[in-house]
């Protein structure tokens, strides 16, 4: 398969993830959609790494995985903290910082 197939698939996945972030209101699902976008970026990185014939893009993809794991840990900790304070798990209701 040509590389552009992978790149187009990656941009499609990225668009689906962005759409999910715009539509959904539960913080858990928004984190899941963030994962979709990060994985789309990973797919593009690995595809470009194959296109160039160089393994550095794969290193970059592994670092992105680490960053995604950190983001998941902090985000899920936030969600658990929100849940334990009995605040509504809804990004439209959690508007304290917005004033």
């Amino acid at each position: 398969m040509n590389i552009e197939w992978y790149i187009v698939l990656s941009s499609l996945l990225f668009a689906v993830g962005a759409m999910g972030i715009l539509i959904r209101r539960s913080p858990v699902v928004i984190l899941l959609c963030l994962e979709l976008m990060l994985n789309a970026g990973n797919l593009a990185l690995v595809a470009f790494s194959r296109m160039v014939g160089n393994q550095q893009g794969q290193i970059f993809a592994i670092v992105v995985m680490v960053v995604a794991a950190c983001e998941v840990v902090v985000g899920l900790g936030l969600i658990v903290a929100i849940f334990r304070r009995k605040l509504p798990l809804d990004v439209d209701s959690l508007r304290e910082l917005r004033g």
Binding site: M1, I3, E4, I7, V8, L9, S11, L13, F14, A15, V16, A18, M19, L22, I23, R24, R25, S26, V28, V29, L32, C33, E35, L36, N39, N42, L43, V46, A47, S49, R50, M51, V52, Q55, Q56, Q58, I59, I62, M65, V67, A68, A69, C70, V72, V73, V74, L76, G77, I79, V80, A81, F83, R84, R85, L87, L89, D90, D92, S93, E96
Partner: protein, 205 residues
């Protein structure tokens, strides 16, 4: 054969992504994301990057998804009713399609001639654990150590975030009772009247 595998994995990845967005129950969303991650691992294997595919399955579909499953089971399927801001339901897919079209134009109209090829022929050791490990521990040692520090910071931050209210209390009643004696009780009291009217206002606006 490769094309068949690519299209199967692409359909799996796309179906998983759409499932994450469309499922009302977050638990099913997590399961759809697991399907998506496995399909992406197949795609990584097709791109001859075995180590990234293995890390994807072990780290992502194994560890991270277990974390998600635990949190979703703890928080529960408390997905609020499908009631977005008016027009959001139609504007968001429009924006998503616009983003996809824009990205596709940017990729396909770029002058990267190698996009239309398979990529160069690589030796059999391309992307296997030995090569990646050598690269990671020799040339990219500083990013490797930086990411390990980042992981440590994230672990500490998660403990601080999740463990602030629970000072030994297990059930919600004791957490509630202990928090009333702590210094955070006024903040919590003042938040409750704030969030309820704003939620009602968000429904009407």
């Amino acid at each position: 054969m490769e094309a068949v595998l690519f299209f199967l994995a692409a359909i799996g990845a796309l179906g998983g992504a759409v499932g994450v967005v469309a499922m009302r129950n977050p638990f099913y969303g997590v399961l759809a994301l697991i399907v998506h991650l496995f399909s992406l691992a197949v795609l990584f294997l097709l791109l001859t990057s075995a180590f990234v595919a293995a890390a994807q399955v072990v780290v992502y579909a194994g560890a991270v998804m277990v974390l998600y499953v635990f949190v979703v089971a703890y928080v529960g399927g408390t997905e609020s009713a499908w009631e977005p801001i008016p027009g959001q339901r139609f504007l968001a897919p429009l924006l998503g399609i616009a983003l996809f079209v824009e990205l596709s134009i940017a990729v396909l109209a770029s002058s990267l001639l190698a996009l239309g090829t398979h990529g160069p022929d690589v030796n059999p050791g391309f992307g296997d654990p030995a090569a990646i490990g050598r690269l990671l521990l020799e040339r990219f040692l500083i990013p490797f150590e930086a990411s390990s520090i980042l992981l440590l910071l994230a672990a500490v931050g998660a403990v601080v975030l999740a463990g602030r209210l629970g000072t030994g209390g297990v059930s919600k009643g004791t957490v509630r009772g202990s928090s009333e004696h702590s210094s955070e009780a006024p903040a919590e009291r003042s938040e409750d009247p704030l969030t309820v009217p704003s939620h009602a206002g968000g429904g009407t606006a």
